[in-house]
């Protein structure tokens, strides 16, 4: 009765404007989906989530979830630029101590010069961007592997953090800046909480997701994103077709500086003071987060949303072990297993992608 006038049989198949050379068979949807950089890590994150949902009952609580997301966000905010940098073919070992350098700069400049904390915050931003610029400039100008250059910066910053803090404050930590001008205002930006349905959610979670959204858009929809893929995929080709390779690489290093600054400010305005010896070892977590998030260590491939799931997996494991009542010493072992798993998936993806 209500047959739709679908001349499916009578009309010839529309003369496709898209004639094909018939050399590539359409691959199954599952395979094509799995070839996306973020799908593997998404499935991994779901698996880890379900695992802890079963084995650690407190995780089912919404406030625990907020806590896990908060943990993830403090890692994730730096993991995103580290991932972009990795897509651009380089990586940065100095990001972890860079966070502390940034926080120390802000704390000491504000306190020692008794100025509004915003002066310290801006000074810290300048310092962080300058460190990123130095890393990028050294890598681009010398052609040395970024591993060596940033290992150098990592050691320098580690030493400078301790030595300068002791020199200035006579202590290994900075002084409490919580009663300085502008502190409350800055705290609102970097370290406040929101009430969502009775659950306190830290503002860093929103910043994290916002940065991820911006990074995804930039990566896939702008010239800069195109250049990032190109300088990581084949630097010489990119240069030969007119991509500003030096600008792209240096600015990517500076983006990592920005991420480190943001998390540094968050730590400062959460704890009011900074321990100068912290931050060592975190840089490897950022890099693992990016790799687990589907970024190729050799560059040219990856996404900005994958590292979000990567950081979530880390936060989940870190907190999940605590909620499950296990020995937190297992955390690093978990990380190792996840990292190896992710690398194997990446390897498989790369082979499937370029298969003739």
């Amino acid at each position: 009765m209500t047959q739709h006038a679908e001349p499916a049989v009578t009309s010839p198949p529309a003369p496709g404007p898209q004639e094909t050379d018939g050399r590539t068979a359409e691959r199954p949807l599952v395979v094509r989906l799995l070839a996306r950089p973020e799908v593997g890590v998404f499935l991994g994150a779901v698996a880890v989530y379900v695992f802890f949902l079963i084995s650690a009952p407190p995780v089912r609580d919404a406030s625990s979830m907020a806590n896990i997301l908060y943990q993830s966000s403090t890692l994730g905010i730096v993991t995103i630029p580290v991932a972009l940098l990795m897509i651009g073919g380089e990586f940065d070992l100095s990001a972890g101590v860079g966070v502390i350098t940034s926080a120390l700069t802000a704390a000491m400049i504000s306190y020692q010069l008794t100025m509004n904390v915003w002066v310290g915050v801006i000074a810290a931003l300048v310092v962080s961007l300058a460190i990123g610029f130095f890393n990028g400039w050294m890598v681009v100008k010398t052609g040395l592997p970024s591993f060596l250059v940033t290992l150098g910066t990592f050691l320098i910053l580690q030493g400078v953090n301790l030595a300068v803090t002791k020199l200035v404050t006579g202590n290994v930590a900075t002084d409490d800046i919580s009663n300085m001008d502008g502190f409350d205002q800055a705290r609102k930006v970097f370290a406040s909480s929101f009430d969502i349905g009775g659950v306190q959610v830290k503002i860093t979670v929103f910043w994290w997701l916002l940065f991820a959204a911006i990074a995804t858009w930039v990566l896939l929809r702008t010239r800069y994103g195109n250049w990032t893929f190109a300088v990581g995929g084949n630097k010489d080709s990119a240069r030969a077709v007119g991509v500003p390779v030096a600008f792209t690489k240096i600015s990517l290093f500076m983006l990592v500086g920005f991420g480190a600054w943001f998390v540094g400010m968050h730590q400062l305005f959460t704890f009011n003071t900074v321990q100068s010896g912290e931050g060592v070892g975190i840089e490897l977590i950022y890099i693992s987060g990016a790799v687990i998030g589907g970024c190729l260590l050799t560059g040219g491939y990856g996404s900005a949303i994958g590292p979000v799931f990567g950081a979530f997996m880390f936060g989940m494991v870190q907190q999940g072990i605590v909620y499950a009542g296990w020995n937190p010493d297992w955390f690093k072992a978990f990380l190792g297993v996840m990292l190896l798993g992710a690398v194997l998936i990446n390897l498989w993806v790369q082979r499937t992608m370029t298969r003739r």
Partner: protein
């Protein structure tokens, strides 16, 4: 004619009038390049005119790559002159060369393998839309244009989203040529485009070289295969150990001579008498020195 002699000094050559014709886009005059104390290229003169294919032949290490790197802006020449449209230039980046309409298609580094075909097509010259803070790639337009341009060149691809690394070597070369042609290249430098290709694919690439010439481009075709060069070339230059051994118009040279020059024929011919003294060396097939009638480039030694 006699009335004009006072103005033109009576020196108008029919073919390739040096210095007087303004059709020349790119010209090298006694150009050379030294890396430290190593002289990779010395005393090379070359002219590229629109609608002509200039072939540069030479064995490995002859200086072909150095030559194209100078013209494409990756390296700077250290001696002689490099002129574009009659004005001396010194490119510091490939971007400078591209802005002057000189596009290079490299043998191995023309593309970023993991990026989709359409992104590779527009890499470095992406189409954008929207005002600055939200200026973004015009993806639809880029895909359409890339598809259209590739079809114009006779390349039909299933899916422009596939990574260019999945295409065959010949297809990649053709995408790179189509890209250069689309971006308004006036001079196309092809670095051994047929070196890694099979016979049929080489033919396809040669077809595109001819197509580019038909569209009025000046083509510099770098190769070590004299047969490929002779199929499309209008002018032939042979490099040997960084210097110019031969520079000849198509009318002045045969394929046989070109092959001989490429195979070191000129040197072997000079040695023919000596070689004939050695038992076990068959010199019958070697050309006589006098038979090599093509104009050998004046020895640059001592002129610099």
């Amino acid at each position: 004619m006699t009335d004009n002699t006072s103005k033109t000094h009576g020196a108008i050559l029919q073919d390739a009038a040096p210095g007087t014709d303004d059709g020349v886009i790119v010209e090298l005059r006694n150009a050379g390049k030294a890396y430290g104390n190593i002289r990779a290229l010395h005393g090379v003169s070359l002219k590229v005119r629109p609608g002509q294919v200039t072939c540069v032949l030479g064995d490995n290490g002859a200086g072909k790559s150095t030559l194209i790197k100078i013209i494409s802006g990756l390296h700077q020449h250290t001696e002689g002159e490099f002129l574009v449209d009659g004005a001396p230039v010194r490119f510091t980046t490939p971007r400078d060369a591209l802005d002057r309409g000189i596009a290079t298609v490299y043998q191995d580094l023309a593309t970023v393998p993991l990026m989709p075909v359409w992104r590779n097509f527009f890499l470095g010259s992406e189409m954008t839309k929207g005002p600055w803070p939200v200026r973004r790639l015009d993806i639809e337009k880029m895909k359409q244009t890339a598809d259209h341009e590739l079809r114009e060149m006779g390349i039909v691809l299933d899916n422009l989203e596939q990574p260019i690394g999945t295409l065959s070597g010949g297809q990649r070369q053709c995408v790179a040529i189509a890209r250069a042609v689309y971006f308004g290249a006036r001079v196309l430098i092809l670095d051994e485009p047929t070196a890694a290709l099979g016979v049929k694919q080489s033919g396809v690439v040669l077809k595109y070289i001819a197509a580019a010439r038909e569209r009025g481009l000046g083509v510099i075709f770098i190769t070590h295969n004299p047969h490929h060069a002779y199929m499309v070339g209008d002018h032939f230059s042979v490099l040997r150990l960084g210097t110019m051994e031969l520079s000849a118009e198509r009318s002045q040279i045969t394929l046989e001579e070109l092959t001989n020059h490429m195979a070191g024929g000129a040197e072997l011919a000079a040695l023919k008498h000596e070689l004939s003294q050695v038992s076990g060396v068959d010199v019958e097939e070697l050309p006589e020195k006098e038979d090599l009638t093509a104009p050998v480039a004046a020895s640059p030694e001592g002129t610099s």
